[in-house]
Symmetry: C2
Subunit: 135 residues, 2 copies
DNA sequence: GCTTGACCTTGCCATCGTGGTAAGCTTTAC
DNA sequence: GTAAAGCTTACCACGATGGCAAGGTCAAGC
């Protein structure tokens, strides 16, 4: 159960692709894996748990850079929860900003679409809104 | 007023950077520009209007591929507004999907953040939710 | 022991849209 | 005539991921 795994097994266990595991190692998000004499990477349970942490953070949409910061905090016994919170709050603020922007686009476009007949005639409110002179 | 412009002037007039104008030409979104003997690109009013169309569509978040389709429709006198509408509606559906996903992440994260004390102690609900064994 | 298939390695390219930078040529303004 | 501004092409970079190819390795079946 605590035996070491190949990269494929670690990928399976963590939900992170082999490709990405290597990439995370390359970029320093994961520590260099232990290698067999022939060069195969082998992972222990702790390494897989790091991957699972990354998986969860990525699934929440944290950037790899922030995931790295979260991992540092995770491993820091003397962390201040305020630092974690600040990091998360900043990300939430960015999410809110992106959501708002997308909603604004969506609403305006929705409005255009509502004014488009959507038949076989060429007249189209959407095109009219995109056209340079028709605003 | 209708004189030809250099790429910098066209960029200024359209809001699209010089870099992107060249890129759009390279990828076929814009037709090859007329060139001076020395190789400089020159643009007339119609070309600038194409750029303005692109600018508006990009500002609405349409992908370059869809912008290309919209431009084709714009220039097609026999277009069916239904085709434009369908294109826009598909994009709206994608926007809605993305918005929903971001909101889901945001809401869950907001919940975690609300349970984090945010002080100088290491205990942290956010870390606990990201940690493999604490779910 | 040998073959086969599954797995591993590295390295390179592609995405999408944009920005940067560099080396060199042209035009414009003084 | 010179300097500055603007143009050209050709690269590299981002962020995060996938794909492919050429080759080495391991495990199972015979």
């Amino acid at each position: 159960m605590n035996a070491s795994m190949t990269i494929g097994q670690a990928a399976e266990a963590s939900g992170i692709s082999r490709k990405m595991i290597r990439y995370y190692e390359e970029t320093g998000l994961l520590p260099p894996a232990r290698r067999s004499e022939s060069g195969y990477r082998y992972y222990d349970q702790a390494a897989v748990e790091q991957m699972q942490f990354i998986k969860r953070a990525r699934d929440m949409g944290f950037s790899l850079e922030r995931v790295g910061q979260l991992m540092s905090l995770w491993h820091d016994d003397k962390r201040h929860s305020a630092d974690v919170k600040a990091l998360a709050q900043q990300y939430i603020a960015e999410l809110d900003e992106n959501i708002a922007q997308m909603q604004a686009m969506r609403n305006e476009l929705r409005d255009w679409v509502d004014h488009c007949h959507g038949d076989d005639r060429p007249e189209c409110a959407i095109i009219d809104h995109l056209k340079p002179h028709a605003d």
